[in-house]
Each structure stands twice: as structure tokens, then as C-alpha cells.
Subunit: 188 residues, 2 copies
């Protein structure tokens, strides 16, 4: 795990052994079974997560009680209810393990300490936040300008492995279509 | 302008006069007339912008030549084609002035210098990137879980002034509905 996490950080910044030890001390490892919740809607959000192994689903339930998959997160990805995390408010979404999952978790105190004391980590999180912002903007463009078939093809092209690990029902929800519409698209 | 920009920065970080002068030296002022383009689709993206006065529209044209308003930007807002800016690639969107507009602009070199040399500015941009990421995620949730009437009410509630400064056609495009649908919503 340590090697994976260090490699993840060193894609953006270079670290001495001491620096890595210091960063690591601000994270803890947690294990979840399939179907466990890392974040439950309505409860206080304490952590954001980096996935060591496994698969997570970020889910939003609308006012009509309909479920929407907002995001999936696999190995090497960060995930969380960022709005609630940064505002220290209750979760507006839930985060659930779709497989047995091991994560590193970080509190807002740790995040603030790392960013305040350690320029390199502020820079690391800045890069991550910019990438997150950009990929959210790309998803907005897709939602307003492409149809379900185009979104399906893009997702399959970008994350083929997701289609082996996630049910068609969840893929359909992520794409914003019914299970039946997805079946028609995949049959073509 | 200097007072406005310093006040904008000091919502997040505190600065000495020398520090502010140093930051300011990395920005330049540009003026645009109504309908001028700050960024044109297909051209290289050199700058991101902070709006001193005026109003901007970030626009995306899909493969079927249909226009989509991705965002509006008013006084005190940052805007740009961030994907193209950070990747130094051609613009995938256009950014156009809807009113005579004055902006501060910043190159990627200036951004990188400020973030590398100046921990406070890395922290400032980190806060902005996190907020941008979160607000994009909120827009995704709205797009997948609310109808046009709910999106209209939210926008009106959040930015009432926008409705006095922007045509109904553009508001409709931002909400992802036709001009006719918007007329029905506003008549209710």
C-alpha cells in the first residue's frame, strides 16, 4: 500500500522519505465489506478517501426518492462528498462499497494541516482539485450535449474494466437512462 | 480595480502590500466590447480571466452544431476554458463578452510561478479549485435529478441579477430547454 500511495503522490510532487512519512501520518487505513457505507446521507462527513483496492459508488437520492449514480471510484482514485467535507456538514450523498474495499482516509484537520504546513501537498491537492473540476465540467458538457448512446460509448472506451465490475443497472443509472434503454444500446 | 482584486484575494488569504504588488505583476488588464471573443473555439488558450466588470458567456457547440451555454461569469468570478488552459491545447469552448467587459488575465506561466514560489497563492487557487469542483458537482446533480422548472427556480433564486442582464434565449440554453419551454415556465 505504501508504495502505491507514494507512487500516486510522486506522479505530481517528489518527496524525501521523511516527507512521505510525515504525509502518511495524516492518513489512516480503513477496510469495508461489499455493501458497507463509507458515507451515509444525512450523517456528518468526517473523511475523504483514496482507494487502495476495491470499488466505490457515490449515490444521490433525489426528492422523488430516485437513485442516481454520481460517480464510481476505483483503485488510485479520490472520492467523497466534497461539499459536505469542506463545509463540515451532513452528507447530501452516500458512498458505498461495491466490492470489499480498502481505503486511506483523511480528515479535514489533516487536510488543512498538510496544506498549511507543506507547500508541496497544497500543490498536490491543487493539481487534483483542478483535474476534478475539469472532469466535472467535461461531464456537464456530456450531459447537456450528448445522447445516452454517445455517453455509453465514451464510458466504455475510457473505463472498459468498469463494465466487468459493475452491474448494468448501475451503469444505466450513471448514464441517466433506464435499464431497458441500456439493454437496447448494448444490443446494437 | 486594485482594491476590488485585493479584497477578492483577501477573502481567503491575508497579504502585505509587497505581496499584493508581486501578485498583481503577474496579471494584466484587458478590455473587451460586447460580442468580442476572449477565447475562440479551436484557437490556443493563453489566459484565464477574473471579471472586474461586465458579463461573460462560456459556450459549447456540439457535433450537431447546437449551442450550449455552459456558464455565465459576472463581476468577481473566474472563468476560462480550464481544460485547454492547463493542457495548453486548443479551446473546446468559446468565451464571449455579453456586455462591455474588463478583466484581469493570467497566463499558465504566471499561474505556475505564483503557485510554485508563493505558498499563499497555491492555497488561494486550491480554495478556488475546490469551490469550482464542488459547484460543478452540484450542477451535475441538478442536471441528472431535477426538471427544468426546478433548475429555473434555483437559478433565479441564486442569481436574480442574471435575469436582468441576460436574454431569455441564453437562460434557456443554460437550463437545457427550448425558449418556448422557458416561456411556459416563466408564465406560471
Amino acid at each position: 500500500m505504501e508504495k502505491l500511495f507514494r507512487a500516486h503522490l510522486e506522479k505530481i510532487i517528489t518527496l524525501t522519505d521523511e516527507e512521505f512519512e510525515y504525509i502518511k501520518s495524516h492518513f489512516s487505513v480503513m477496510n469495508f465489506k461489499r455493501r458497507d457505507f463509507l458515507v451515509r446521507k444525512g450523517e456528518k462527513v468526517t473523511y475523504v478517501f483514496w482507494v487502495i483496492s476495491g470499488l466505490l459508488k457515490l449515490n444521490y437520492v433525489d426528492d422523488a426518492d430516485k437513485n442516481h449514480v454520481v460517480a464510481f471510484a476505483m483503485e488510485d482514485w479520490w472520492e467523497g462528498d466534497y461539499y459536505a467535507f469542506f463545509n463540515q456538514s451532513s452528507a447530501t450523498m452516500s458512498l458505498q462499497a461495491l466490492e470489499d474495499t480498502q481505503v486511506l482516509c483523511m480528515t479535514l484537520d489533516s487536510y488543512n494541516t498538510l496544506c498549511r504546513e507543506f507547500h508541496k501537498m497544497a500543490y498536490f491537492f491543487l493539481e487534483k482539485a483542478n483535474k476534478g473540476h475539469i472532469s466535472s465540467q467535461q461531464r456537464i458538457l456530456e450531459l447537456i450535449s450528448t445522447n445516452a448512446k454517445e455517453r455509453y460509448d465514451k464510458l466504455l472506451n475510457r473505463y472498459p474494466v468498469l463494465f466487468q465490475r459493475v452491474s448494468h443497472t448501475l451503469i444505466a443509472s450513471y448514464l441517466g437512462v433506464t435499464r431497458e434503454t441500456l439493454s437496447r444500446l448494448t444490443a446494437q
